[in-house]
Symmetry: C2
């Protein structure tokens, strides 16, 4: 029995089918793969490639895409700093539920502020939060500009755009770093392979 800040009379319900049973059913361990990086750095590409690679191994993953969530759960939020923080907080809470459900949850969000990411990490047992930093130079991301957003930001038509007039704070101790090689990015398969190798080594691909 416990109470929480905003509401007393809230009781924690436990079920006989828990995380261990679900992980056994799936033959994997639940975790959160949190992909952070600038717009255009390849987060979604990696998320898709990773979910495909896991699927071919019979593993269940689910991608939480920052943009997609803004159509649903987070559609009441804008881009003010407090909205960005709440956006990340909710995504972290949902990712935690998916990990608890036994899935490999792949969260793909710019998530520019270190503190917001660290708050999500703190929600989970440490080893279950795997931070993947897309370490791509701004020039490369801006040259790609897959959504045409850098152009708009440079023209002043978008305010507070990460990398242009809002900061991106790189991770200090991330689990995985995806690097370019002199401006050349690894292929989606190579990037996904890097993450899968990590998951395998850490025992997430068996229960």
């Amino acid at each position: 029995m416990s109470t929480v800040s905003n509401s007393t009379n809230i009781f924690w319900q436990d079920c006989q089918v828990g995380r261990p049973e679900r992980q056994k059913l799936l033959n994997q361990k639940g975790c959160v793969v949190w992909i952070t990086g600038l717009s255009g750095s390849g987060k979604s590409t990696l998320a898709c490639s990773l979910s495909r690679e896991l699927y071919t191994r019979g593993k269940l993953s689910y991608v939480l895409d920052g943009d997609n969530l803004r159509h649903g759960l987070n559609k009441d939020l804008g881009f003010l700093p407090e909205d960005r923080t709440e956006n990340i907080r909710r995504t972290g809470e949902v990712a935690k539920l998916f990990a608890d459900a036994g899935l490999i949850c792949v969260a793909s969000l710019i998530s520019p502020y270190r503190r917001d990411r660290d708050n999500c990490r703190a929600m989970l047992p440490d080893a279950n939060f795997i931070e993947v930093y897309m370490n791509m130079p701004l020039q490369l991301c801006e040259a790609r500009d897959p959504k045409g957003l850098y152009k708009l930001a440079r023209a002043g038509k978008i305010k507070g755009f990460t990398g242009i007039d809002d900061p991106y704070e790189p991770p200090i101790n991330c689990e995985i770093e995806i690097k370019h090689d002199d401006g050349v990015c690894p292929t989606p398969t190579v990037m996904a392979g890097q993450v899968v190798t990590y998951l395998e080594k850490k025992g997430f691909l068996e229960h």
Copy 2:
């Protein structure tokens, strides 16, 4: 490419591994089993029993418990009408994600207002929202009072308690109704069986 109300420049990301692939992996179809009813009507009992029954059949479910969510995703919300509505909306959005992930998502919340429940139903393809109404008389729930909340509400120590000084609006066209028999409730196994039979008949337990 699309835009949403609160934020332009949001793009929908599609992945090659989608709901059909996940459902194939799990050999089931994703859906939301939404259990509504008074406090003490047996919602959590049914949710647990159902997840156990599904597990023995090798099916993956996940319980979203209203009280548990108030410790995490919804911990910023209280019990004012607009907070209750937002609580249900977020739960519905998360349930939708779980159904999309291929799971049988069991949401267990008082969810007293018909409009809030119908809004959640509207988020999903109609057949994927299965409303289960715990049709138990107030006297029975109050006699059970497993959390001692009715006692507090009657003493005026909790305001706006559903069934006492806040309305419960029963579903009009729910998929499943759990009834008492002259004040005697069905056992957890019988209740779960009623839902499993429905899921089986509608093809949710195969892909």
